[in-house]
Subunit: 341 residues, 2 copies
């Protein structure tokens, strides 16, 4: 920073000279692309370049308020990029462009903001998407304890695909792309310092390539990423949207040993912990093997497993335990882990 | 609210049952439309309905942190809808769809959130746009003093138009669509209570219809809405982007008497106050009259005026005062009015 202050001040948010300097120094240099460089209040995506004319559009947004801002395996910026890319991917949509809006607490170190921007730029490259437009606001120290990031994304829905939480059908196989609970425990550990530093890593990852490969295998009725609220909550949402009964098999759930041990120690259920790089698919039974193989061939789906089935019945989710009994798996009640994403 | 608590708790943000109930009760019922009803992580906009195939897309985002949440003439919800609609309009783009993401401080009254949602729904109807996707997060009381709203918007750029801050040309007329300073002073007054209650109203308004009418008149090189930082800052941005010298005429600036009096009393310069329902256009001189008429024929452009001219020269802005002298008009320095939008 050639001349500005080393921490963010309210003046950085006033829309004047310091706001411009901050945007130039922190964001424009890192996110650099043709659309952002236009410097207008909205970015223009030329039809000739972004190839959406024969597709429906997908559109999504999420705010990120995770604390701490940095944790093993990720940071607020990576979550904000991948989370929005993944919400598009779960609709069968190739990500076209992201927006990023920053609400900054007065007093945040400019280098912290630069680290987040750097991480977002790297995440966008990894997810093959551009951050084309954005905004920054600054609020008093008492009104924001650091940094909130909101991303939105536009995608082009792959023609002929229509995964939706409302499309699960009796007989479908339930396939999970990998291990449960990594993100939730990584953030918990970063907060509490359970001495499990290097062993608990967030799974934050971009899922479009994986989703595209799975869609190519065919038979996908539902895609959903089990983030906040965990797999149990996501499955309940799908059960309600589709009007079906879902049963999952405890013994089939992929969970890392370190995560299992830490969750037990802390009295947490991995089925309710947030994931940031996993998807769950409901797939026509004849194509379940093909989808499982497609997942396992992708770097983000190596631990994929068939974890359950869909049946007719009262909408809800049941867990078949290791000893063969069934118990209802409800939607998350209460707060669990605040500010996990 | 049939059963939930009357104030927002951290559990409302956990992604479980209470989160779902909040979204259903507060947002889905009010924003109701086919896309939102799908209930997936991303909304799908069918090409057959949203008519964007022959257009470039415009994409924009802004966060709103205004305090207080409600003020004469508007509220955070109206600002969030109109602000994003206007950023699309300034690019010559018809708004297609908005996203809305809410960061809520624990303890906010649910009825307050409902009032904001109601206002956003009304604003979206007024602007003829749908809110198709969204997110809610809850943070501790100490981390957010009420409510932050982030909207993003997708629009279809009117074929054949390309207004940009970089396109001002020597000889262009500078035309302002109405009075200056209304929003900034309305919010200041709502905070400080200067006893000017009913007389100072925010100008928050959706500008697409006005922009469309002006584009039809022809000759528009630049469109920009002078929000945070005021007209002086906006003109400086354009001067830099286009590499031109802009001169404006103090005597020609439309300002309401009550606003002028209040600004003088408070020692504020209307040229640096935020506007939320005005646009400034730079127009080929031969079409300046046609554009002025088109503005005046629109309900949001009745007080439009030609306020200056564009010339070759060192990029910058000058004010010709009422007595004929010139003074440089710089970009806003420092903080002026924090949290004005």
């Amino acid at each position: 920073m050639p001349e500005g202050p080393a921490t963010i001040t309210l003046a950085h948010g006033a829309g004047g000279r310091l706001s411009h300097q901050l945007v130039e120094q922190v964001f424009k240099s890192r996110f650099d692309n043709e659309q952002l460089r236009q410097g207008d209040d909205a970015a223009e995506l030329p039809a000739s370049k972004f190839d959406y004319r024969n597709s429906n559009l997908a559109f999504t947004t999420d705010s990120y308020v995770v604390t701490p801002l940095f944790f093993p395996g990720g940071d607020i910026g990576r979550l904000a990029v991948f989370g929005t890319v993944n919400d598009l991917a779960m609709k069968g949509a190739r990500p076209l462009a992201l927006s990023a809006s920053f609400i900054i607490g007065e007093g945040l170190a400019v280098v912290t903001l630069e680290k987040v921007a750097e991480s977002m730029a790297a995440a966008a490259r990894e997810a093959k998407v551009r951050i084309v437009t954005g905004d920054t606001k600054v609020v008093e120290r008492a009104a924001c304890d650091g940094l909130f990031v909101t991303t939105a994304g536009v995608g082009a829905v792959l023609p002929g695909t229509a995964p939706s939480g409302a499309n699960a059908r009796p007989g479908d196989a339930v396939i999970l792309s990998g291990t449960l609970g990594d993100h939730g425990l990584a953030v918990m550990n970063a907060r509490g310092g359970f001495g499990l530093g290097g062993q608990l890593l967030s799974d934050a990852a971009p899922l479009w390539d994986l989703a595209e490969a799975v869609l190519a295998a065919g038979g996908v009725h539902v895609f959903r990423d089990p983030t906040r609220g965990g797999l149990a909550t996501t499955l309940n949402e799908i059960a309600i949207q589709s009007g079906v009964a879902i049963t999952i098999d405890e013994a089939a759930l992929p969970v890392r040993d370190t995560v299992r041990a830490a969750a037990e120690m802390l009295g947490l259920d991995v089925l309710y912990l947030a994931n940031e790089g996993k998807l769950v698919a409901m797939v026509a039974p004849a194509l379940a093997d093909a989808v499982l193989q497609a997942m396992r061939n992708n770097r983000y789906g190596r631990d994929a497993a068939v974890i359950g089935t869909v049946a007719e019945g009262r909408p809800g989710v049941a867990l078949r335990t290791a000893i063969g009994s069934h118990r209802p798996l409800l939607m998350l009640e209460g707060e669990s882990l605040p500010r996990i994403c």
